[in-house]
C-alpha cells in the first residue's frame, strides 16, 4: 500500500497513540506484514515511544501542581471584597436585570419623546375619564327606580321635613346610587359598580349641581320635580346692532308682552354723530326666557349673547328654615309674655329678645321675597347699538409746514417775520440763538388761519433763500374712527415752523479747487478779487506764504452763486496757467435746492515757480542714486527671504514633529514586539 508506506511515520505515531481508525489500523497492519522496512521502523518507534514515555513520566507535574497554581493565582490576584463595581457588573450579567434595564431605558425614551413633542399626560387621563363615565352611565340606570322612590318621597312628604335632602340634590343622587348599587342583580359586576359609585359620589359632591343632572339619565318627572324645587335665578345679556333704536325698543316691548313679561328700564344716549346707543332691561317669566331671547335675536345683528343661571336653592332654603326657627322662637317668647311674670326685668329681657327675633324675621322675609321676585322673573339686559356707530361726524385737516431759510442777516429777517403777527397769524414761539463763535440762528413757530396760510407762507419764503420746505397734512376723524363718504372736512390752523440761518453757514452746493501758475502773485490775486466781485461773489479768506526755495503761494477761497460760476471760471483763465482743477458736488437727497442761487465755493492757489536749480544731476548725484537703488534692492530681497522663511517654517516644523512622533511609535512597537 503506497499511501501507508509513504506516510508510515504518521501512521506509526498515530498507532502508538491509539488515534487510528479501525480501517486505518487494518491497513497499517496489512502493510507491516508486507513491508520489512516499515516493520523495522515500527519496532524502533515502539521502543522509542516507550523510552520517551518513561523519560517524560518523570518530568510530569506532581499531584499538587493544580493546587500550587491556584494558590499562586490567588496570592497574586487578591480578592477585592465588597466592590460595588463588581456587584453592578454581576447584576448586569443577569438576564432579568438586562431586560429591566432595557425596558426602563425604552420607557425613559418614550417619556422624553413625549416631553419633546409636547403630548401631555392629559390626553390619556381624559380618555380614562370618558370611559369611566360611559361605564358609569350603565349601572346608574339600574338603581334609578329606588332613587326615584327617594325623590318621590321627598316630594310627597312635607317639604320642611325633607329639607336636608332638598338642600343638596346632588348629594341625594349620589347617595341613592351608592345605596342602590349593591342591590343590582349582576353580582359579577358588583365590585366594579361599587367602585364606580364611589367615583361618582366624589365627582358629584366635588362639582356643581348641573353635572349631577347630566349623570342622572332618566325620568322626566324626577328632573321636573328637582327643577321645580330649585330656586334658580335666570338672566340673559344680549348685544345687538340695529338700524333704528326706537323701532327696536317698540318691538322689544311687544315681545315682552307676548311672553308675559314687561320692560323694566330703558335708557339711551346720543352720540356726536347722531347715532343712538342704549340699554333695555326686560323681565320675563323664566319658562319663556329662551323663546324671548330667540325672538329678539331677529331684531338686528347679534354681537354677543350670554345666558346665565344662578342656583340659590341652598341659600334660599337655609334662610327659609332659619325663618321657621325664628317664628317658633317668636311664638315661645309671646307665650312667655302671656304667662305674666312678676319680675319686670324678666319681662324686659323677653321683650328685648322678641324685638330682636322679629327684626330677624323681617329681614329674612325680605330676603326671601327678593329672591322670589328674582326667581319669578328672568332678567334680560339688551344692549342696543345703531349701525355705523363708529362713523365719524367730520374730518379735520391739519397742516404742518417746515421752512428752512438762509439769509445774510438773520436778525433782520427774524424781526420781519415777527412783525407779521396779526389776529390771523399767531406767533407761538420765537427764539434767536447766538453762540460764542458768532453764529446766529433763529426759530419761529406760528399758527396761521387757514384762509391766510398760503399768502403768509409765500411772503416768508421771499425773505431769504429757501433751503428746505416741507408740508405735512393730517386728516383727523372726529367722533369715530371709520370711513365716511359724507362727513364734512374742515381745515384747521396751519402750523408753520421757520428756521433761519446765516448764509455763511450754508454748505456749498459745489466745491472747486484749482491752481494757477503765474509770475506775479500780488497782481494776479488782486485781479482775482475784482473778478469775483464782478460776478457777485465774495472772497471769504486769503493767505500768502513763501517757502525756502523761493516759491510763493497765495491761497484764496471765494464763494459765488451757481448761476455766475461758469462766467467766473472763464474769466480766471486770463490770470495764468490753470492746473489741477477738481470739482466736487454734494447731492443732498430729498431736499429741494434752488440751484441758481445756491453757493459754489472755489479755493484757488496762485503760485510762482521757484528759481533755484535742482541738484539732482551730475556724477555724485548719479552715484548716490545708484547706491541708493542697490541698497533698496538688497533690502527688498532680504524681505522676500524673510517672507519665504515665514511661509516654509511652520511646514518644516510640522513635518519634523510628525517624523519624530512616527519614529517614537515605531520604536515603541518594535520594543514591545521583542
Amino acid at each position: 500500500m503506497p499511501i501507508v508506506h509513504n506516510e508510515i511515520d504518521n501512521y506509526l505515531a498515530a498507532d502508538l497513540h491509539n488515534q487510528l481508525s479501525d480501517e486505518e489500523r487494518q491497513e497499517l497492519h496489512a502493510h507491516l506484514v508486507e513491508c520489512a522496512d516499515c516493520r523495522r521502523l515500527h519496532q524502533e518507534t515502539k521502543i522509542m515511544n516507550k523510552a520517551l514515555e518513561e523519560t517524560l513520566a518523570t518530568e510530569k507535574p506532581d499531584t499538587a501542581f493544580e493546587q500550587r497554581m491556584l494558590a499562586g493565582f490567588h496570592n497574586r490576584i487578591p480578592q477585592r471584597s465588597g466592590s460595588i463595581a463588581k456587584l453592578i457588573v454581576d447584576l448586569m450579567r443577569l438576564r432579568v436585570t438586562q431586560i429591566t434595564a432595557v425596558a426602563a431605558m425604552l420607557l425613559a425614551l418614550v417619556q422624553v419623546g413625549r416631553i419633546i413633542t409636547g403630548e401631555g399626560t392629559t390626553m390619556p387621563r381624559n380618555r380614562e375619564y370618558a370611559a369611566e363615565e360611559q361605564f358609569a352611565a350603565q349601572p346608574a340606570q339600574l338603581p334609578l327606580p329606588s332613587s326615584n322612590d327617594v325623590g318621590a318621597l321627598s316630594k310627597s312628604g312635607d317639604r320642611r321635613d325633607n329639607e336636608t335632602d332638598q338642600l343638596a340634590p346632588g348629594k341625594t343622587f349620589a347617595r341613592s346610587q351608592v345605596t342602590a348599587a349593591p342591590a343590582a342583580p349582576q353580582t359579577d359586576a358588583k365590585d366594579k359598580k361599587q367602585e364606580r359609585a364611589e367615583v361618582e359620589r366624589t365627582r358629584v359632591t366635588g362639582s356643581n349641581v348641573s353635572t349631577a343632572e347630566k349623570v342622572e339619565p332618566n325620568p322626566v318627572e324626577a328632573q321636573a320635580s328637582a327643577l321645580a324645587n330649585r330656586k334658580l335665578i335666570r338672566n340673559a345679556q344680549v348685544e345687538l346692532e340695529i338700524v333704528s333704536f326706537d323701532a327696536a325698543v317698540q318691538k322689544i316691548t311687544a315681545f315682552a308682552n307676548e311672553e308675559r313679561g314687561y320692560v323694566a328700564t330703558t335708557n339711551s344716549e346720543k352720540q356726536a354723530n347722531g347715532k343712538l346707543r342704549g340699554t333695555v332691561v326686560v323681565k320675563v317669566v323664566p319658562e319663556n326666557l329662551d323663546r324671548f331671547v330667540q325672538k329678539i335675536r331677529d331684531l338686528g345683528e347679534l354681537k354677543n349673547q350670554t345666558l346665565g343661571t344662578e342656583d340659590i336653592t341652598k341659600a334660599y332654603f337655609d334662610t327659609d328654615s332659619r325663618l321657621k326657627n325664628a317664628r317658633v322662637m317668636e311664638q315661645r317668647l309671646i307665650d312667655m309674655l302671656k304667662k305674666k311674670s312678676d319680675d319686670i326685668n324678666d319681662l324686659l329681657q323677653v321683650e328685648r329678645e322678641l324685638g330682636r327675633v322679629r327684626e330677624q324675621i323681617e329681614q329674612m322675609q325680605g330676603e326671601l321675597k327678593y329672591w322670589d321676585s328674582q326667581v319669578q322673573f328672568a332678567t334680560v339686559t339688551i344692549q342696543l347699538t345703531e349701525k355705523d356707530m363708529e362713523v365719524p361726524a367730520a374730518f379735520l385737516l391739519k397742516e404742518r409746514a417746515q421752512l428752512a431759510l438762509y439769509a445774510p442777516e438773520v436778525e433782520k429777517v427774524y424781526d420781519e417775520i415777527k412783525a407779521l403777527a396779526s389776529p390771523k397769524v399767531q406767533i407761538t414761539n420765537a427764539q434767536l440763538d447766538r453762540d460764542n463763535t458768532g453764529r446766529v440762528s433763529a426759530r419761529v413757530s406760528m399758527l396761521i388761519a387757514p384762509e391766510e396760510s398760503d399768502a403768509q407762507i409765500a411772503r416768508v419764503k421771499t425773505m431769504g433763500r429757501i433751503e428746505n420746505f416741507q408740508v405735512q397734512t393730517e386728516r383727523v376723524a372726529q367722533g369715530g374712527a371709520g370711513m365716511s363718504e359724507n362727513a364734512k372736512t374742515k381745515r384747521d390752523k396751519v402750523e408753520l415752523n421757520i428756521t433761519i440761518s446765516r448764509e455763511e453757514q450754508e454748505q456749498a452746493f459745489q466745491q472747486t479747487s484749482l491752481r494757477i501758475r503765474t509770475s506775479a502773485i500780488d497782481e494776479k490775486t488782486k485781479e482775482l478779487r475784482s473778478l469775483t466781485e464782478k460776478q457777485n461773489g465774495r472772497v471769504r479768506s486769503s493767505s500768502f506764504s513763501r517757502d525756502p526755495d523761493g516759491r510763493e503761494f497765495a491761497n484764496v477761497s471765494l464763494r459765488v452763486p451757481m448761476k455766475n460760476y461758469s462766467a467766473l471760471m472763464q474769466s480766471i483763465d486770463v490770470l495764468g496757467k490753470v492746473e489741477n482743477v477738481s470739482v466736487q458736488r454734494q447731492d443732498r437727497t430729498g431736499v429741494q435746492v434752488d440751484e441758481a442761487n445756491a453757493p459754489a465755493d472755489l479755493s484757488i492757489q496762485v503760485y510762482t515757480q521757484g528759481n533755484i536749480v535742482s541738484q539732482e544731476t551730475g556724477l555724485f548725484a548719479t552715484l548716490r542714486r545708484t547706491l541708493g537703488q542697490s541698497a533698496g534692492a538688497i533690502m527688498w530681497s532680504l524681505r522676500m527671504i524673510g517672507v519665504a522663511i515665514a511661509f516654509l517654517a511652520p511646514w518644516a516644523i510640522a513635518l519634523a514633529a510628525i517624523i519624530w512622533v512616527t519614529r517614537r511609535i515605531m520604536r515603541a512597537r518594535t520594543g514591545r514586539g521583542d
Binding site: 521502523l41 491556584l70 493565582f73
Partner: protein, 177 residues
Amino acid sequence: MDANEREMYQAAIHGDREAFGMIIRRHSRALFAIAYGILQSREEAEDAVQDALVKAWKSRWRVRDPEKFPAWLCMIARHRARDVFRRRRTVPISYEITEPVESEATDTTALNRQLHFALAALPELHRSALTLRYFEEVDYQSIEKLLGLSNGALRGILGRALASMRKELRPALASLE
C-alpha cells in the same frame, strides 16, 4: 464544548474567580505541558504557567468567544514560555557545558540525556505537541484545538517529530533492543 463549560468560561470572562479557579484546575496541566515542551525545565515551565494564568486573568475581557478560551489560554502560555526561553538564551550558561561532567553514569541516564537532546532539536511546536500528548495523553483533536492547528495536522506533526527523534536516537535505541 457543552453548555456548562461554556457558562464557566463566560463567567470567568466576566470576572468570576471561582470559574477561573475551575479553569485553572482543568487546564493548568496542559499549559504546563506546552510550556515544558518549549522550555524543557519544570521550574521554569511552572513559573511560566503561573505568569500566563495571571496575565490571562488580567486580560480576560479580550476574549469574545468563550469557545476559544482554552486555545487563548494556551497561546498566552506559549508566548510566556517563549519569552522566558528567549531571555534564557542570552544567559551564557549552557546545557552542554555542564552535561559531560555528570555523564556516563548509567545507560538509562545516557538515553535520557540523548532523548532530551533529541527533543530539544525539534521545532518548538513539535515539542509542545509531543509533551502535551505524553504528559496528558490528550486525543489529537483536543491538542489541535489547544494549539490552534487545523484538523488532522497533528498526525503529521507527531509523525515527523517521532521520526526525526528516531533517526537521532537510532544508535542508542539499537543498544536497548
